[in-house]
């Protein structure tokens, strides 16, 4: 089964750079969106003798520096076991909304072909979960979101959808788009040998012109403001457990919260 995996080069939010009350996107490193590793793992399990490939669309500036960074990240995905990667990088996608991202992804899928598209439930930097449904709409394919279990049987994807207060069993005819949760599997850590082998696998770079897409901007960014966390940060580290417990309770009583 031929599988496309959507792998987002996401901002590493644990290393978000803030200077003089401003978020400095350009200096914040990228990483593979965490849950996308689960999608990659699932693809490697399901692909059989066919190929599984990554599609990444660059969203964060500065473009030139990010292309190199994203290529390095894609080597990690290849080391996990994907066969090749497609990286869409274009100034027109920086700051565009997700409809152009989905169009670009769908265009790659139409070009390369796929029986199944795997993605993650959400990305760490945006956390919207909208790209997989948008890709399904763009391709006109069935869609299953929030899969915590997945199997493919008789040309169908069968998944357990993890909703807030219930679990649904969903079935869809292939080709289909499926987004997975973190609980679906444990992503593998590539061996040294696999890392070396990944250096030889192809990373294909594409622009919007290659895909015949024109972006248009429907959402304008007015600005980012860091959320300032002002906590007292009083640390109680000396004394016996008994003394520490007394101190904590005393502080909490002073605050009037207990």
């Amino acid at each position: 089964m031929k599988i496309a995996v959507l792998v987002k080069p996401a901002l590493d939010t644990s290393q978000l750079r803030v200077k003089e009350g401003r978020v400095v996107i350009e200096e914040t490193p990228l990483k593979i969106n965490d849950i996308d590793r689960n999608a990659i793992e699932e693809a490697i399990k399901l692909k059989g003798n066919d190929k599984a490939y990554a599609i990444s669309v660059l969203k964060w500036p500065p473009l030139q520096k990010r292309i190199q960074e994203a290529e390095n990240l894609l080597r990690e995905a290849l080391a996990m076991g994907l066969d090749e990667a497609y990286l869409v990088a274009d100034e027109g996608l920086i700051g565009s909304d997700q409809s152009a991202t989905a169009k670009a992804i769908a265009a790659v899928i139409n070009k390369v072909g796929a029986d199944l598209v795997l993605a993650a439930e959400a990305s760490i930097d945006n956390y919207t979960g909208q790209v997989p449904p948008r890709v399904a709409a763009e391709l006109g394919w069935p869609l299953i979101t929030y899969a915590r279990e997945l199997r493919v049987e008789g040309g169908k994807a069968i998944a357990k959808r993890d909703l807030e207060d219930s679990v649904e069993t969903a079935e869809a005819q292939l080709p289909a788009v499926v987004s997975v949760t973190r609980e679906i599997n444990q992503p593998r850590i590539p061996t040294l040998l696999a890392i070396r082998a990944a250096m030889k696998k192809p990373v294909n770079k594409l622009t919007l012109a290659d895909l015949g897409i024109k972006p248009d901007v429907k959402v304008e960014l007015v600005g980012y403001k860091p959320v300032v966390i002002q906590r007292k940060r009083v640390i109680i580290k000396d004394g016996t457990p008994e003394e520490k417990a007394d101190k904590l309770l005393q502080y909490l009583r002073q605050e009037g919260v207990i």
């Binding site: 901002l11 939010t13 956390y127 979960g129 909703l163 069993t169 959402v219 959320v227 940060r233």
Partner: protein, 296 residues
């Protein structure tokens, strides 16, 4: 601006009413009831779980509305993404503030794991989901005109079964005191300590994602964080929780945050008002005893 509310609840109806004229789409009787008071309600008979049915209904009505507004749920994110692509519209999720200006929408949402807010100016038509607890007004009550609608389902998938999830019977968003547990607890049985402490303090028990999602020691109604519940208690006491950004994202609005962790370098201490460096197995039993004494 004209807004259409999908998956109507009070907060989404109120948010829509602040923009001007509005209507609601109801699939099934429960939603018809929830939409009561909206000037126009489109009523669709059918399975509320059929996402394709809802998508078709909205796409049929979308031409008459500038904004589609929904509460933030997994299903609204699913259909929101799908409809937006069909409508060639922006989809902005977890909106915390919203107003119309010069024919555009000015919205704010948290980004980067809730470490920043983004202010955005969006063209209409637009699709939005609103974060819980941010639109707490009373929607005006009109006499409702019900319009029957019978769309064809777009059929995203077939539902072969539904199992309800176990519930711990807590409403963690409403708790004033939360004693929250993480992977620092070694065994499921040890969580009894946290329940005892919560009881002594008059609070509820919360947890980090692995406790609910991976280990399944607690039901998901206890789960706090970016992908769990957002809480705003007077006191949030994190025990054996490392303080990863996705956990912190759920507790930003807490009044006082306290933490117990045996690793002095645990990130949770950066986000806490009061941090105790100690083995939870040593200090929690003492806290239970002392908290119970305070009560007397």
């Amino acid at each position: 601006m004209k807004a259409l509310v999908v998956y109507p609840n009070k907060e989404a109806l109120y948010a829509a009413s602040t923009l001007g004229e509005y209507a609601a789409l109801a699939v099934g009787d429960a939603e018809l009831k929830a939409a009561e008071g909206a000037p126009v309600v489109y009523n669709v008979r059918g399975d509320p779980r059929d996402l394709g049915l809802r998508i078709s209904a909205v796409l049929q009505l979308a031409g008459q509305y500038d904004v589609i507004i929904m509460p933030s749920l997994k299903e609204t994110k699913t259909i929101g993404g799908y409809m937006s692509q069909k409508l060639n519209a922006p989809f902005i999720t977890d909106v915390v503030s919203l107003r119309a200006e010069g024919g555009k929408l000015l919205v704010e949402r948290y980004v980067f794991g809730n470490k920043a807010t983004a202010s955005l100016r969006a063209n209409v038509p637009a699709v939005l989901t609103i974060a819980p607890g941010k639109f707490l007004g009373e929607p005006p009550k009109a006499s409702t005109k019900v319009v029957e609608l019978s769309p064809q389902s777009a059929g995203l998938f077939r539902i072969a079964g539904v199992e309800p999830k176990a519930s711990g019977g807590v409403r963690i968003e409403e708790a004033e005191i939360i004693v929250s547990v993480g992977r620092g607890f070694k065994k499921k049985e040890d969580l009894a300590m946290a329940f005892d402490l919560a009881k002594a303090l008059g609070g509820q028990v919360g947890c980090s994602r692995p406790i609910a999602a991976d280990l399944k020691w607690l039901s998901e109604d206890h789960w706090v964080g970016l992908s769990g519940h957002k809480v705003r208690p007077k006191l949030y006491l994190a025990i054996g929780i490392s303080g990863q950004p996705q956990h912190i994202a759920g507790i930003l609005d807490s009044r006082i945050i306290a933490a117990i962790n045996n690793d002095p370098n645990a990130p949770i201490f950066q986000y806490a008002d009061y941090g105790v460096v100690e083995d939870l197995y040593k200090i929690v039993p003492i806290l239970i005893r002392k908290a119970a004494e305070l009560k007397k």
